[in-house]
């Protein structure tokens, strides 16, 4: 009997990194380099499988996987009218997020092999990194709300442990404590909302709930709980304050993985608005709500980044600002759902999810490189590094131009979609977004000047370029940024449009499950 890899691929996408996580401490006993290679191979294999699954989905449509059924596609047992098993449902939007998460996890693993040469406890670090990857993938693949909660908790707990990796630093422990408190609070309210929906409709499957939902009073309460909790996990202002603490104190490879986890929470917000409540929600109200929150997030993130003295906290606040751009794109798509520019806004918002992870990820990796080389975190004590860290300087320059939305980088491609569509809804939205981008450019030019330009400082005369593994990780992100910037149409047509189409058509998502085997 042949084993059809593609039909089992949704489960394998979880199983491979999960078993990798459990085997990592065992492999560590052999040699550190064997362990490092094992982790990279596991993530790379998972990514290759995800690429094959993506091709299958773009060709054949939604792929579903039912755990415990005699066939992976048997969504409803013969005698029961609603899906009762745990079902993974992978559409264009899910696989888009999966590809992003795996790319970032791979880059984080490669970067870690060079960054952490001097630390202890790396077997636990890589185990947790793989578990974080499992959590993110589970959140993005699952079509079951309680299963989503489980993976949310896996993500939160592994992230907390990773943030606290530098246990000798009080700031890291404090950041981890704050993160777990916030995450637990969010997860608690998500669980409460799931309980309300289950109590109403006797179903946990997202497609079944979306088909049954009537937007009663209880449903509205559940919507508020879900939106508030997941918006906090996504770092939307004014619930963003945990984000600079967590991003700023974690090791840089952990930070980029947590950025990907944050985007997974943002994916959940989109799934709730477009799919779960898509048929009943007042699109205009929710859309304008998201636009308001998005503008606040952009403004607060960008203005607070300007006054930071720590390198990583500055980039973290900029990351908060960038989340706002995604939200205003999606909010415009909801608020103007009948207009032609709504699809442009949605594509811009979704495209910006991908671009933002790459840009902010590259900047965090460069920050990590600077900390590795100089053992300094404060902008007060750094300067003149361009002489000794040429490659790092170039990577920072690429990240700077990308995050500020300068052509021809990838950031510009997604931001122009957002600017032009939001302008048609209301010019003020676009004006605030553009001015904030200019401020972002100013912030990162300041950091560039502070870190790399100016005279060589006496305490930094012995600084050398970082090891090759870190340079390779940064170059992967830089190359992808440049390629996307030069060929944005290709990526929009092949990655972003299927994701936007999947979100805009909740009926396909519902019929894939309720249409039978």
């Amino acid at each position: 009997m042949s084993f059809d890899v593609i039909s089992h691929s949704p489960a394998l996408l979880i199983a491979i990194p999960l078993f990798g996580a459990f085997f990592t401490p065992v492999i560590s006993r052999l040699h550190a380099k064997v362990r490092d290679g094992f982790v990279i191979v596991v993530i790379a294999l998972t990514e290759i499988l995800a690429i094959f699954l993506a091709q299958d989905i773009y060709t054949n449509g939604i792929r579903k996987y039912v755990f415990g059924a005699s066939l992976p596609s048997l969504t409803r047992p013969d005698t029961i009218s609603i899906p009762v098993r745990i079902i993974f449902e992978v559409d264009g939007m899910s696989i888009f997020m999966v590809l992003i998460s795996l790319t970032i996890a791979l880059v984080a693993a490669i970067y870690s092999t060079s960054f952490f040469k001097k630390e202890d406890g790396l077997d636990r670090y890589y185990t947790l990194l793989l578990l974080l990857t499992v959590g993110m993938l589970g959140m993005e693949l699952t079509g079951d709300l309680f299963n989503f909660f489980v993976f949310l908790e896996i993500t939160s707990i592994s992230s907390t442990a990773l943030i606290a990796f530098w246990i000798d630093r009080g700031e890291s422990l404090e950041a981890a404590l704050k993160y777990i408190i916030i995450s637990s609070l969010g997860a608690l309210f998500v669980l409460m909302a799931i309980g309300f929906l289950y109590g109403q409709y006797d179903a946990l499957n997202i497609a079944a709930l979306a088909n049954s939902i009537q937007f009663t009073f209880i449903d509205k309460i559940a919507l508020v709980l879900l939106l508030a909790a997941l918006a906090m996990k996504a770092g939307i202002a004014p619930m963003h304050m945990w984000l600079p603490d967590a991003y700023g104190e974690a090791p840089p490879s952990v930070t980029i993985a947590i950025v990907a986890a944050t985007q997974a929470s943002l994916y959940a917000v989109l799934r709730i608005c477009f799919t779960l409540y898509g048929s009943v929600i007042g699109m205009s109200t929710i859309g304008w709500l998201l636009i308001g929150l998005g503008l606040l997030t952009i403004f607060v993130g960008v203005t607070m980044a300007l006054i930071q003295k720590s390198l990583t906290r500055t980039i973290a606040y900029a990351a908060v600002g960038e989340i706002g751009y995604m939200i205003i794109g999606v909010g415009t798509a909801l608020a103007a759902s009948t207009e032609t520019f709504a699809s442009v806004a949605l594509k811009g918002g979704i495209f910006h999810i991908f671009n933002d992870i790459l840009d902010i990820g590259l900047l965090f990796l460069v920050a990590g490189a600077v900390i590795y080389a100089t053992n300094e975190r404060s902008l007060e004590n750094l300067g003149g590094l361009a002489r000794r860290m040429k490659y790092t300087t170039i990577f920072f320059l690429i990240g700077l131009l990308a995050v500020a939305g300068m052509p021809p980088m990838n950031g510009f491609a997604s931001k122009i979609l957002i600017y032009e569509s939001t302008y048609q809804l209301n010019p003020i939205i676009s004006i605030i977004a553009i001015l904030s981008s200019i401020l972002l450019l100013a912030i990162f030019v300041k950091i560039f000047y502070s870190l790399f330009l100016g005279p060589e400082l006496p305490n930094l005369k012995d600084v050398k370029e970082v090891p090759t593994g870190m340079l390779i990780a940064m170059s992967i992100l830089a190359i992808v940024i440049i390629i996307i910037g030069l060929f944005p149409g290709y990526f929009i047509q092949n990655l972003v449009e299927p994701a936007a189409t999947a979100l805009s058509n909740p009926s396909n998502y519902i019929n894939a499950i309720l249409g039978g085997a």
Binding site: A228, T303, L306, E380, I416, L417, I447, P455, G489, I492
Partner: protein, 115 residues
């Protein structure tokens, strides 16, 4: 598919190929202008030394404007706003939870009241 397919935004389009052509043209113009420059200079003489307001810049490290002091004018002009924002960003987890509750209550009013 043509990899240089432009993105259409509904009210315009973006094609990186056109930008690259324009950028290369600009670089060539810059190079042409540079060729008209003076090639004669003595390295290590006062022609290559940095000056600050007409004075020779000694002790470079002490003259380095630190990153935290850049944009002082901007932050000073917005002192009122930044004082409020610094007070809001306390770093206390209880305040983070409070903001979450405030947003949730706000969402309750909007969703239950309007939708």
């Amino acid at each position: 598919m043509n990899p240089f397919t432009p993105i259409t935004t509904g009210s315009g389009f973006w094609n990186p190929l056109i930008w690259i052509i324009a950028f290369i043209t600009a670089l060539l113009l810059v190079y042409a202008i540079r060729l008209f420059g003076n090639k004669q200079y003595k390295k290590g003489s006062s022609q290559t030394k940095p000056f600050l307001s007409g004075n020779v810049a000694e002790n470079n490290e002490q003259l380095h404007v630190k990153g935290v002091n850049v944009y002082w004018g901007f932050t000073e002009a917005f002192k009122g706003y930044y004082d409020k924002m610094k007070r809001i960003h306390t770093g206390d987890t209880r305040d983070y939870v409070l903001w979450f509750l405030i947003v949730m209550i706000g969402l309750f009013f909007i969703v239950l009241g309007v939708l």
